[in-house]
């Protein structure tokens, strides 16, 4: 089955060469990869509304193969391979290799940054749970973008459902391809090696905004899909605008629509920035004005039309506002953070942002420059310069940066207000690209002047050292740790779980019990467990159980619904609700029905005497697994909760859709 993974690559290659007509050989590789991945996600997402995951994957691959075969006879221009300079090749190879291995090693140590919710969501897709539901609060939907998790789960169907391994490799490969796509697309559109090198160096190494991280360090969670597809969408839109053709416009519209399920915030920024670029191009050039305008309008309208029906945030917004209800009927008035429902309002009433820790600050503050990166200072100057010089690739990235700053400065995102650092990172990225291009333009001018050339080169070297040192040093330190402590890096997630960096958060016995549970659990069934640590603030242990068993958990609590003091920076989850605590203390059987528990995963050492007795005498509980070292305390038991409510059961729940506090 794994050989079928090549079909998306072939499909991408055919699109890149036959439909888009890309001639540069170096650019064809990352373009084919990104187009293949994007097309695969688009197809799987569309078909998953009607078919199970495996069928959707196979049907998508069949359609991709058929499309590639149908398009193959179209004429393709012969590839040209512009010569790569020695320095150019060495820098690009170093950066690309570092991107790949940095992402790979980091995942071998940590698996993921937001291990919850990504790992359980990927696991649940393999049980055909779609649209996604909150793995810890299964009565609640899980709105928002999901493209990355779905792509990895879908690809893992071809690799024996090993979604962790697929995640590690695809994430690392995406990061490598982002370097190549960003560099070769920059060189293609800016027509200057210097500008392209500076753009890529400053974006990947010199950005250093929030937490002093540049794009090279930003690969966890959705990020490699986000930035690979960001550059892909920019490339496609600019290609469609430069020389309007129906094929390129269709691919661009589909790619932009797919981006809406990959990352909502950045999709919104592109929807704002693309028309601004069209406006600038139409003002600066009279050629093909009507055709360019019509092409851009078709891309934007077409992509939005798809986005409003194929899933994700825009589909949710469309359902909510077109049907006239503020919330989908399935959502209770519970905390927005449980469902990921965003309720934005405009205008905000101030021009500023909210830091991750909840501190508000102004657009005109030092904090803004710290959170966005130093390059943002030159953005107001660089953007008009780039438009005047018709460097549309860099101008588009600068416009994206400007939009990514203005949107969170003026829109209130409710419970997600202090999540705006995501926008600011993109603002910094656009600013860094603009700065790189402007400095490159200046160097291109000075290169013909021997009097200034040496000084300009020295000044650029100093600028690069000052801006890039933080990321370079951090990356070097992180990679040296691999050589110093190789035993802390795991290729298999089942070995990694509760070992290495997270050894204090759970016990390998939990991971083994969860793996034993996997073949027993059916779709939509729920596991109730007492194997959690109070100090496990990121819920690593419970996430390990959910993702390795591929099951929902039940019995978790939340903070008070609607608590205005709780933002995303705070933890809204609680490892056990009052009912769950009551059960683990008394063993009261009614709780199992109230929590809709199908399985119990029990750490016997954490049971009270009463609960232990109640578990052994409850006729509805059947012990199906007991594993671990009895002498050591690392024992876990799995019980099947047999169907049928207890006699005299009283339901005290007020709202079945509301998670317990």
């Amino acid at each position: 089955m794994f050989a079928l993974s090549l079909i998306p690559l072939l499909f991408g290659y055919v699109l890149a060469t036959r439909v888009i007509g890309e001639r540069e050989g170096h650019l064809r590789l990352p373009l084919s990869y990104a187009l293949g991945l994007c097309g695969f996600l688009f197809g799987v997402n569309a078909l998953l509304h009607a078919f199970p995951l495996r069928s959707a994957v196979l049907a998508t691959l069949g359609l991709m193969a058929a499309t590639a075969a149908a398009l193959w006879p179209l004429p393709s221009s012969r590839a040209v391979w512009p010569r790569l300079g020695r320095l150019e090749a060495a820098v690009v190879i170093t950066l690309a290799l570092t991107a790949f291995f940095r992402a790979l090693f980091w995942q071998m140590e940590y698996s993921d940054d937001d291990f919850f919710p990504h790992a359980p969501l990927m696991a649940l897709y393999l049980r055909d749970v779609f649209p996604p539901r909150n793995p810890f609060y299964p009565d609640q939907p899980y709105l928002g973008h999901y493209g990355r998790d779905l792509t990895i789960s879908a690809l893992s169907v071809l690799w024996g459902d090993r979604f962790f391994a697929v995640q590690y490799v695809v994430t690392a490969a995406n990061h490598l391809m982002t370097v190549l796509l960003a560099y070769f697309a920059s060189r293609r559109f800016l027509r200057s090696r210097r500008q392209a090198l500076l753009v890529v160096a400053l974006v990947f190494l010199g950005l250093n905004p929030y937490l002093r991280r540049s794009l090279l360090d930003v690969f966890a969670n959705n990020n490699t899909f986000v930035y690979l597809f960001l550059f892909l969408n920019c490339y496609l839109f600019l290609a469609a605008l430069r020389l309007p053709r129906p094929g390129v416009a269709i691919v661009s519209a589909l790619s932009l629509a797919t981006y809406s399920i990959v990352y909502t915030t950045h999709h919104g920024v592109l929807i704002v920035a693309f028309p601004l670029l069209v406006l600038a191009v139409l003002i600066r050039s009279r050629r093909l004005r009507a055709l360019r305008l019509a092409t851009a309008a078709a891309i934007l309208i077409g992509s939005l039309a798809i986005s409003f029906v194929h899933g994700g945030t825009l589909t949710d917004v469309g359902h909510r506002y077109l049907s006239g209800s503020a919330r989908p009927s399935s959502i209770s008035a519970g905390p927005e953070l449980v469902t990921q429902q965003v309720n934005p309002s405009f205008p905000k009433g101030r021009l500023g942002f909210t830091a991750f820790d909840g501190t508000p600050y102004s657009l005109f503050s030092i904090r803004f420059v710290q959170d966005t990166g130093l390059a943002v200072i030159v953005l107001p100057l660089a953007l008009p310069l780039l438009l005047i010089a018709r460097r549309y690739w860099a101008a588009l990235l600068a416009l994206i940066g400007a939009a990514a700053i203005v949107i969170p400065a003026t829109v209130d995102f409710g419970a997600y207000e202090n999540d705006t650092y995501r926008f600011l990172f993109l603002g910094g990225l656009g600013s860094a690209a603009a700065l790189g291009s402007v400095v490159g333009m200046a160097l291109d001018r000075l290169a013909s002047s021997p009097r200034f050339w040496a000084g300009a080169r020295a000044a650029t070297a100093v600028l690069l050292v000052v801006l890039c040192w933080g990321t370079v040093a951090g990356t070097g330190w992180a990679l040296s740790d691999v050589a110093r402590r190789p035993d802390r890096y795991f290729l298999r997630a089942a070995d990694w779980a509760c070992n290495g960096i997270h050894q204090a958060d759970c016990d390998p016995a939990d991971a083994r019990a969860a793996e034993a549970l996997r073949p027993l659990v059916a779709r939509d069934q729920r596991v109730f467990t007492n194997a959690y640590r109070e100090g496990d603030l990121d819920f690593i242990g419970l996430t390990v159980i959910s993702s390795l068993s591929r099951a929902y958990l039940t019995g978790l609590g939340t903070v008070a619904p609607g608590d205005p003091g709780v933002k995303i920076g705070d933890q809204y989850k609680r490892p056990a609700s009052p009912r769950a605590l009551a059960f683990w203390t008394t063993g009261a059987p009614d709780v199992l029905d109230e929590l809709k528990a199908d399985w119990l995963l029990v750490d016997p050492s954490r049971l009270s005497e009463a609960a232990r007795k109640a578990l052994s005498t409850n006729p509805r509980l059947r012990l199906v697994f007991r594993g671990g070292q009895i002498s050591s305390g690392g024992v876990r038991e799995i019980y099947r909760v047999e169907a049928g409510p207890s006699p005299g059961r009283k339901t005290t729940r007020l709202d079945p859709a509301l998670p317990e506090r």
Binding site: L87, L97, F101, L479, D487, G535
Partner: protein, 199 residues
Amino acid sequence: MTPSVRGLIGALVLLAIPLSVGAVDPPSIELEILGHPKEVPASSSFYVQVKLTNAGTVPVRGCTIELGQVVSPDPCLALGYRFFKAPRRLDVASVDTVQVLSRREVLAPGQSIERSVRLVSSRQSATGQVHLYAISGQPGALVWSHEAFTIVVAEASYEAKRRAMTTLALFAIYVAGVGWALVRIAKAILPVARRACSS
């Protein structure tokens, strides 16, 4: 009063505050090792049975430890350990820590608990002492009770060795690729590294 005298008085007042605020008896925890394995493989986890007795006058809860610092506001208890060499300075960042009580659990004065705690052996195989500490108290006023036992850390298991070798092999590929590229960069940048023109 001159500014320097005012500054000195201010500093003395600030220094005195931690002494007067929250000046409760520090907890006194007795640590006893009930059982431990004689030999474990390197880089593996194993269990040690311990008994902890609150011999002080204040109840303790489980500690919350973030970034090598105890951040719990109340008197709390955690377990720390280090293989072979006792830390020079007793601070939480210099030992590996284990949670023995949850934040909700309380160990009242006079009460004892027996727990099986999971430790992870060192990467190096050697014979030596495992230093075990019951760390109790509040941030800035932690009390350390020490016990030790002798253990043989044997060679790592085949799986652990294979894992380390796989990681190092991947790392070697990366180093070789980047090394090659860096030599090319050096040749492109440094005039001395460039080959002399033959013409």
